[in-house]
Symmetry: C2
Subunit: 328 residues, 2 copies
């Protein structure tokens, strides 16, 4: 198992991330050995492990430094993330993820739906095994519920030409940012930090997650124009309008509507036209600005965190700055 090369810059985290992977492996014990292998392959396929990394870093702030506990909770978070990826692949009929065939492609939707369910449950099993108190488990399960509510919320806004920026932010909160918030918040709380401090850590996570998802959505529009067709086309056809397009709609709705109203009948040429209009309306510029606002909010809050013997603050700052400066 090779960790993503980005972790070479954080050698202190490497042993804990490796333990996290090990714990995920140990948690997946199925009678159906071929499905077990497919899940393990997915675990090994080199996801960035950002959420467990944040959880592990925020765990360094509390008095209770139990590595087994820290890594078990990190494994639970990554399993939750993996479960949602498996279900996303069913829903998107995706055939490849990280250059491996998806579980729905290798087996069928049935297997992928149940495999995702299994990981969701395993996540709770790990949480129940290692959280401090029933109360903190309650908070965690409430937050996980919010994440699913967010996924379903997104379905509601499809094909709406008058979707607002606030609605977009609410949706990406649920879809992405809440899981970052949960990772940071659980990390602090379960290491014995106060509820108030843990809440602040959760807010840092939320800002990181918001910036992360905006940048992810931006990448669909900022790649070279040959590459641009596919990702924009897919989402826009499905009626999922992300931030650059929403900003453009505020300025140029009349120009965009004829293309968007084609829905699933949109062609690659239509997508190129949409992309041009988004460029002209400064949708990309404005989205970049908002991402950098959230990034700066997170970085400023990180600077104010207390010092630790492991120089957690510096690591958090560097990690956050580097992932939020991906090609944007």
């Amino acid at each position: 198992m090779q960790l993503h090369k980005m972790w070479q810059d954080y050698p202190n985290l490497v042993p804990e991330l490796e333990m996290t992977i090990q714990l995920m492996e140990n948690s997946v014990k199925l009678k159906n050995k071929s499905v077990e292998k497919a899940i393990l392959d997915m675990i090994h396929s080199g996801g960035k492990l950002l959420r467990p990394a944040y959880q592990l870093l925020f765990f360094q702030f509390g008095p209770n430094q139990d590595v087994k506990k820290a890594t078990s909770l990190a494994a639970a978070i990554e399993m939750l993330h993996t479960a949602t990826l498996i279900h996303d692949d069913v829903v998107d009929r995706a055939e490849l993820r990280r250059n491996l065939p998806t579980i729905n492609a290798q087996f069928d939707n049935t297997t992928a739906v149940y495999a995702g369910d299994y990981l969701l449950i395993s996540c709770f099993k790990l949480l129940a095994d290692y959280t401090q108190t029933l109360n903190s488990l309650r908070i965690n399960s409430r937050n996980i519920e919010k994440i699913l509510d967010g996924e379903l919320g997104q379905m509601n806004n499809r094909y709406r030409l008058d979707g607002t920026i606030d609605e977009y932010l609410e949706n990406i909160s649920g879809k992405t940012a809440e899981l970052f918030a949960l990772s940071c918040g659980i990390g602090a709380m379960e290491s014995g930090c106060s509820e108030k401090f843990s809440k602040k850590c959760g807010e840092i996570g939320l800002n990181i997650g918001l910036a992360f998802q905006i940048i992810d959505d931006l990448l669909d529009y900022t790649q070279s124009s040959e590459k641009i067709g596919k990702p924009v086309l897919e989402d826009v056809r499905q009626g999922i309008y992300s931030l650059p397009l929403l900003y453009a709609l505020q300025e140029n709705k009349a120009q965009l509507s004829p293309y968007l109203l084609k829905k699933e009948q949109m062609t690659t040429a239509d997508a190129q036209a949409v992309w041009q209009i988004v460029q002209q309306s400064k949708g990309i510029e404005k989205a970049k600005k908002l991402a950098s606002d959230y990034t700066n909010k997170a970085l400023k809050a990180i600077e104010k965190l207390p010092d630790t013997p492991k120089q957690t603050k510096t690591h958090l700052y560097n990690l956050t700055a580097s992932i939020l400066q991906r090609q944007n």
Copy 2:
């Protein structure tokens, strides 16, 4: 909300079953109101509520008689069951359930996958809110994990002409019986019964669940021959061979193989032929015998349970006898 008419014979249970439904309703709070409505419609569509009923009955054995707690745990169990039904419908591409359009048919697979996930998580939230101790939550989550393992196990045995009765029983344990076991076991344990006694209650639930699923599988073969085609055909085409067919395969493999090896190309006439062979090989008789063995085991164990002021034993006996004597 009208409860299934079977509960007229158990008037004491009615208020608690109604509270259970109410609690499920209160748990489903989504931003996406149309999905919320679809989930609520499903909750109201008149499922039998057998699993919550068993949970509520076994809860009557312990010293801790907290109705709010009993009904919350019952709601958690029914939500878990509803989540698996929603995902089963995605996987089976089912269009109707209990005479209502399924969530995948009303919306799409995406919505149904996430709606099922949401209910899975809500189930844990309710469990975390109302279980006594972290330890009992751990036991519960381990058992729920087993249920998913069972669903995935079934996929493994598809199209196998040499599947054994033991493998079949192991699969239906996971798919159905473990949830009955969990309902009975949680009921006893969370009302403050000893671990030993609760384990015994779980075993009663397991036997009830095994008999219940065998009878369900039998119904596909015991209905009048005009009706027989469809359900048998569907499962057999998908490579899911249930108990009557497995018994028949032990006797008449050579006769059955040519039909079964057609897999998804099987016709209605082929299914009729398979059904004839299953009849002749006494597959149905033998399966009935095994179902009644499990039923008797459960009923005998129920007879030995202690008395309660609410005459729980009599209710448990009557309920179990009546649901396990459905047309078999």
